[in-house]
Symmetry: C2
Subunit: 550 residues, 2 copies
């Protein structure tokens, strides 16, 4: 190779970084230990995030060109630790109780290095070999968890080339899109000279079957990924019909039936009904069994979005809450939520192993007909060996281990709800069905007043309380000792008035009762600092003539 | 908590796995070292895959239920090493030259553990903080690599809440779907009382604009993910128009123009033209600049699928091959291909930072309006901090480092093509434009005969040669010393007769010239064992009266 001497030297250095490092005392070995120690230090810190405005952090990420010259791994590592890791979010902190991202069991960390080091590509057996049966096994186990078919069923289908019990996905969104893609393609299937929606497109499909529109029915608490799915699949967000919920944020079966009838009466067709098993905002579970009845009656695809709540099936104590899920045509479960697996482990499961034919595709150089390549039935192409993380978590914790974790989280949520209700100046807005609840801070006098307030009085007080909740949540996040999230609900007990609430997810096994009490105390202290908001609230209270009830 | 004693003991053990392991001499520390050593051993092996039939491997992955009881991490680790790792594919082997998955630089492995350990979720800043500016920085650098805007441009847009220079995706398929989703939504945008395809759906969109169909134009060598995209987006595979290629597998501009005119004449509308920068099967690059002209003339979205070839832009020596890419509206690049980043690092880039508005979405509890949350402009929801791996690879190797790697791969491909052509019994089918080429084994007498064979003679010989190529590739893969892939092409020099070929991608920096020579020798030996196939071939040769030319 006709290179200058300088370039040759560089090339040697480059080849070296692709060559197996020798002993633990190699430079890379030392860097690895340093990184590990730092990571453990970070994960052991009790704060949730260091207070540093985003604008300041952005200053470290301004360079617009790819750096011209290489830097030493050690120097770059220091940069990462100082500028990135130090200003990451402590999602593993037991005081980080605001989102579904929680702590991981530590044994998954060395396995992550193994997974990345092997760098398998699950799209085809030629780049995955044993990882393909492993992934099919994971899908089989989850399928069994949901559908509970007998051994013969799994023996027949789990490793069958032309079938698939589901698909690993990067996350719940892709899983939901995949499920609705299957539903759409099965509804508008080939028929006579119509080659099917997959080939001829959606407009031709609707025209062929003489449907004015295709709709997807879901409760108004459905995840925003479903509206994304309706957009991506060409259905249109307007055709994702948001059905009213009851006072517990569960879809109203009468409203669902009515909405389905309306679609049909207007010449449309219901493409799918979606049950939510653990809404993102309140954690409630739709009445799946009754929804399955409706789906059966009108002959439509029944999908359950159990991205978050699906793990509850691992608890024999609580799996009854999801009764009816076994009647779903497809189910979404994210292992990176309540199954304690790292980010990127979504799954969709199909009751009927042949259902994936509706989205099957092949190519000449890979995923040929008859191969067991997983890529023929997935929306994504190249994919990592993430299934190994799910497989390992299932084995090392076992169903009984998961049961303890899940039961523990639910008990903790109930404990916290009781603790909140016992305070004079907090109130639960939605009680936990799983380990998620919402609440807000309400000054004592207001809490008393609300008990007997008229609809009009509620309507006038709520904006003040919303501002206060926003203030507390933001300040608490910025202070970085603990973190709860917030959302906006329309609680039945307050006349469906849009109400901002704190939202907590109690999935971290290390969160203690004391920590929960501290979270309330911290919020109380912050609220007391909101003097102008509190002033406005009390003025409103006086104007409404509600102060004397104190 | 009212648990039995047995459960309490278990719970303690469970909490322990979420608790930071102490010193390196802890059990987990020992397991980690053991895993690391085993991984290094595996990566150091010179075989590509151990010979073990898939059916036998499947025996280890038959259990259909989630295991009831936990197992020790150490026991499970042994299972993984023995049953999974040992039967994985050595994608890092310098003799694994069949696919785009190659070796990784070792410094990325400890970073992978860091990434997983931090378990950030890039959908929103509340679960990613500094990772969000980092990801935006990575997208900015790649945008600059493609579009080369000035500093002021990146200062203005890179960290702007309402804009995005692109999106990180799990892979090139999601990147391509995202690009076409943007193209579709921009074509069928809101207008008058039509609320846009995102809201009203595809059928309404086509009707509103009075388009009989929307089509996507791509060469017949386009990746199968594009046909998947056409299906998912409701366009229909039939409306993905495969345009004829020239003798170098590049789209014919005259044929493209003609196809576009035909669509328009029939009342359809071209939604996008896609240029391929590095076809998956032959590695050729479409004439992007001329395609940009056509796209401009007819006013359509121009997308470039540079999933594999995009990294070539890092080489000043060769980036001219992609001239015209800077005129694309959107570009797909996979960092997990020629950028040597682990699986799962796809990217789509948009020339205009406002383009992503076409697919924007928000939710109450996250990605609210005005936030810098990356989730408002991505197809996926929850995503890992994979951007860190791209960021680190760009810094530790630098543009100049990548240039050496890419230039080295291209030189190696040219060397191998020459080596093949120099053999009496091999022939190159497609020469490398980047580091990918295809070839086949052809017994000496056949090679000579083919030089003057008629179309009919070629037509009769080809199936025999195809069978031979299939045999050799399969046996070679099973033997596991080296791996090349295979595909089916329609080479111009053989009258477009469907021809099975070996396909090699020379991206591994550790692949040597000697190894390439050994691959040919191994294939020659395998071919000699195919006595019945060779017999049939020679019979055919005799019947065609071509033997005397030997």
């Amino acid at each position: 190779m006709s290179k200058t001497n300088f370039a040759e030297v560089n090339q040697e250095a480059l080849l070296k970084i692709f060559t197996i490092p020798e002993a633990p005392d190699s430079t890379l070995g030392k860097i690895e230990r340093h990184l590990s120690e730092n990571l453990m230090g970070f994960l052991g810190e009790h704060i949730v995030a260091r207070e540093k405005p985003l604008q300041e952090i952005e200053q470290n990420f301004q360079a617009s060109s790819v750096p011209e010259q290489p830097v030493y791994v050690s120097d770059h590592t220091e940069f990462l630790l100082d500028k990135l890791v130090a200003h990451s979010v402590h999602t593993a902190s037991p005081r980080f109780i605001g989102h579904m991202t929680s702590a991981l069991p530590y044994f998954l960390l060395p396995l992550a290095k193994l997974m990345v080091g092997l760098n398998q590509n699950l799209v085809k057996i030629e780049t995955s070999k044993a990882f393909t049966p492993l992934e099919r096994n994971v899908l089989g186990m989850l399928h069994h968890l949901v559908y509970g078919q007998d051994e013969a069923f799994y023996k027949r289908w789990m490793h069958s080339a032309e079938h698939s019990l589901g698909a690993m996905c990067s996350g719940g969104t892709v899983a939901n899109i995949t499920a609705l893609w299957v539903a759409r393609n099965r509804l508008l299937k080939a028929d006579g000279d119509f080659a099917g929606v997959a080939n001829d497109g959606l407009a031709a499909g609707l025209a062929h079957y003489n449907y004015k529109r295709a709709t997807v029915m879901v409760s108004e608490r459905g995840h925003y990924s479903l509206s994304k799915a309706a957009d991506v699949l060409g259905i249109g967000r307007r055709n994702l019909v948001a059905v009213a919920t009851d006072e517990n944020n569960r879809i109203r079966i009468d409203a669902l039936r009515e909405a389905c009838e309306k679609v049909a009466a207007e010449g449309g067709k219901v493409m799918a009904i979606i049950g939510v098993a653990g809404t993102t905002e309140t954690g409630h579970i739709d009445p799946l069994d009754q929804m399955a009845d409706v789906a059966k009656e009108i002959g439509t695809h029944f999908h359950v979005d159990a991205a978050w709540g699906g793990a509850t099936l691992l608890s024999n104590t609580h799996r009854h809450l999801l009764k009816g899920i076994e009647r779903a045509d497809s189910v979404t479960i994210d292992a990176h939520k309540q199954m304690y697996v790292p980010m990127g482990a979504g799954m969709v499961l199909f009751r009927d192993p042949g259902m994936v034919r509706a989205i099957e595709h092949h190519a000449e150089y890979i995923i040929r007909h008859g191969s067991k390549d997983l890529g023929s039935h997935t929306m994504e192409g190249s994919r990592s060996g993430m299934a190994m993380m799910v497989f390992s978590a299932l084995h090392v914790m076992g169903r009984s281990g998961y049961e303890l974790l899940i039961d523990g989280s639910m008990e903790k949520a109930r404990y916290f709800a009781k603790l909140i209700d016992d305070q004079n100046d907090f109130e639960v807005i939605t009680h936990p069905e799983l380990c998620l609840l919402t609440y807000r801070f309400v000054p004592t006098r207001v809490k008393v007043a609300l008990k007997t307030a008229s609809a009009e009085q509620v309507r006038r007080l709520t904006p003040h309380l919303n501002a206060l909740t926003r203030f507390v949540q933001k300040r608490q996040r910025e202070t970085g000792q603990s973190f709860v999230s917030r959302t906006k609900l329309t609680p039945a007990q307050y006349g469906r008035e849009p109400t901002v609430v704190f939202r907590v997810v109690l999935a971290n096994p290390l969160t203690t009762q004391d920590m929960l009490a501290e979270v309330l105390e911290e919020q109380r202290q912050i609220a007391r600092q909101a003097t102008s908001l509190l002033g406005a609230l009390h003025t409103e209270l006086r104007e409404l003539g509600l102060t004397n009830r104190d």
